[in-house]
């Protein structure tokens, strides 16, 4: 024991140097998004393979539940189809600005304050950065990194994620954020006081960004906090989908995204 302590003490310069160096490299990775994604895409490729194997096993046991979910969704879609007589079966008139493709979540996290998911589709399948990911009932997140076969999704349960959302059938919108506590609740901020809101109102996506189309269901208002000093509501939104057990998701590709972004950049310049 004495010898170990002696050898540590005689090399304390090197030890201090290594600690400081590692700490600064940790700072580099932690504080810069580019480095973070670079580091993650390396570790992604490595861990995705393991997750994929595990997830295929897990899927087998969940088949019953997944079937029920899909039947429910089918039912819902059929109801909408037959209750709306005005649907015109003409391919020219169908709005094709958003293309959907399916994917499976192979790794899911909700215990950190910055949560990410991994899905089993990558750039080989036409997935790109900044595409939206949704489930049958709500929004899951936005794709931040793409490797060949897998993609990393910044979950809505990430304190850095901000999603444009609005109150259904009105034009008052705000940004949907997570405060890092309850994985079933999000906060809708920046909704002006003049908006009329009651508990139980539906919250849908706002369509102000090029990522999600308008009117995707997200959740319902569960608590309204009216701060007297400010001109904005603090709204708590209960999510429709259970983020902790979602398995099948859809990736949305907005084919006009580049066009919209180019236009936005023009304004910024």
């Amino acid at each position: 024991m004495q010898r170990i302590i002696d050898s540590i003490l005689s090399n304390k310069d090197v030890l201090v140097f290594l600690i400081l160096l590692l700490f600064s490299i940790y700072l580099v990775i932690d504080s810069n998004h580019y480095h973070q994604s670079k580091f993650n895409s390396f570790s992604n490729n490595f861990t995705s393979i393991i997750f994929k194997k595990y997830s295929s096993l897990e899927n087998y046991f969940n088949l019953n539940h997944e079937n029920e979910e899909l039947i429910k969704e089918n039912l819902d879609l059929k109801n909408r189809l037959y209750s709306n007589k005005e649907i015109i079966y003409d391919t020219i008139l169908i709005n094709t600005s958003h293309i959907f493709s399916s994917a499976k979540i192979i790794s899911n996290n909700f215990s950190y304050s910055k949560n990410y998911l991994i899905i089993d589709k990558g750039y080989k399948h036409g997935i790109n950065k900044e595409m939206g990911v949704i489930s049958s009932y709500g929004i899951i997140g936005i794709i931040v990194d793409v490797s060949e076969n897998y993609s990393r999704v910044m979950s809505v349960l990430n304190i850095n994620s901000k999603i444009n959302a609005k109150i259904k059938n009105s034009f008052h919108f705000g940004s949907l954020e997570w405060n890092g506590e309850d994985p079933s609740k999000l906060n809708l901020n920046d909704v002006p006081k003049i908006a009329k809101i009651t508990i139980g109102d539906s919250i849908v996506s706002g369509g102000m960004s090029a990522i999600f189309p308008e009117n995707l269901p997200i959740g319902i208002v569960s608590k309204i906090d009216l701060k007297n000093s400010e001109n904005y509501y603090g709204i708590e939104v209960l999510l429709n989908n259970d983020m902790t057990s979602t398995k099948n998701v859809y990736v949305i590709n907005n084919i006009y995204k580049e066009e919209i972004n180019n236009l936005k950049n023009l304004i910024n310049e």
């Binding site: 090197v14 201090v16 160096l21 600064s24 580099v28 810069n32």
Partner: protein, 173 residues
């Protein structure tokens, strides 16, 4: 002794401000900034405690990072050159340390040639810039760009550092 720490603190603040506010905006050909902040490590008093030197260099680099918005990159580079400085001095200035561990208090500034001084400054600058640029790009694919950037920026830094040290030394005399 307190005088020594006062000088260190004074240089710390002065060099940070000069680098952060003036030389970071130099942008020769829109790309290359001279890093005169390395002077802080180059002229750091050699009699001080080595761990103290390492920690001070770390914080120097970290604060510099806040100026240039590149958290951690300069800190890593500065800690490394602070750690390697005694070895490089030994390599460049020869028998600066006695093999028996007793320090020969030789005035290495007066007893060395101009080539030795330039070589010493150049080696430290090269190491610093290489670490800085490779951490910045953070990938092997861009190694050519990193080396090119390191080379040109080093030349620029070498010019500014040597002339500034020369001017300061003249002033002190």
């Amino acid at each position: 002794m307190s005088n020594l720490y006062f000088i260190i603190a004074f240089r710390f603040v002065l060099i940070l401000i000069v680098q952060g506010l003036i030389f970071n905006k130099f942008d020769l050909f829109g790309l290359y900034d001279p890093h005169i902040s390395i002077i802080f490590v180059l002229i750091f008093p050699i009699k001080t405690n080595r761990i103290f030197f390492l920690i001070i260099s770390f914080f120097f680099g970290l604060i510099l990072d806040y100026f240039s918005n590149s958290i951690g990159i300069n800190a890593a580079a500065f800690v490394t050159i602070a750690f390697l400085k005694p070895y490089i001095m030994n390599f460049v200035f020869g028998n600066f340390y006695d093999p028996h561990g007793i320090k020969i208090l030789k005035d290495y500034i007066q007893d060395s040639t101009i080539y030795q001084k330039v070589l010493f400054v150049l080696i430290i600058i090269l190491i610093h810039h290489f670490i800085m640029f490779s951490l910045e790009s953070f990938t092997i694919d861009q190694i050519k760009v990193v080396i090119k950037k390191t080379f040109y920026t080093s030349l620029l830094s070498l010019f500014f550092c040597s002339s500034l040290i020369y001017l300061l030394a003249q002033n002190e005399r």
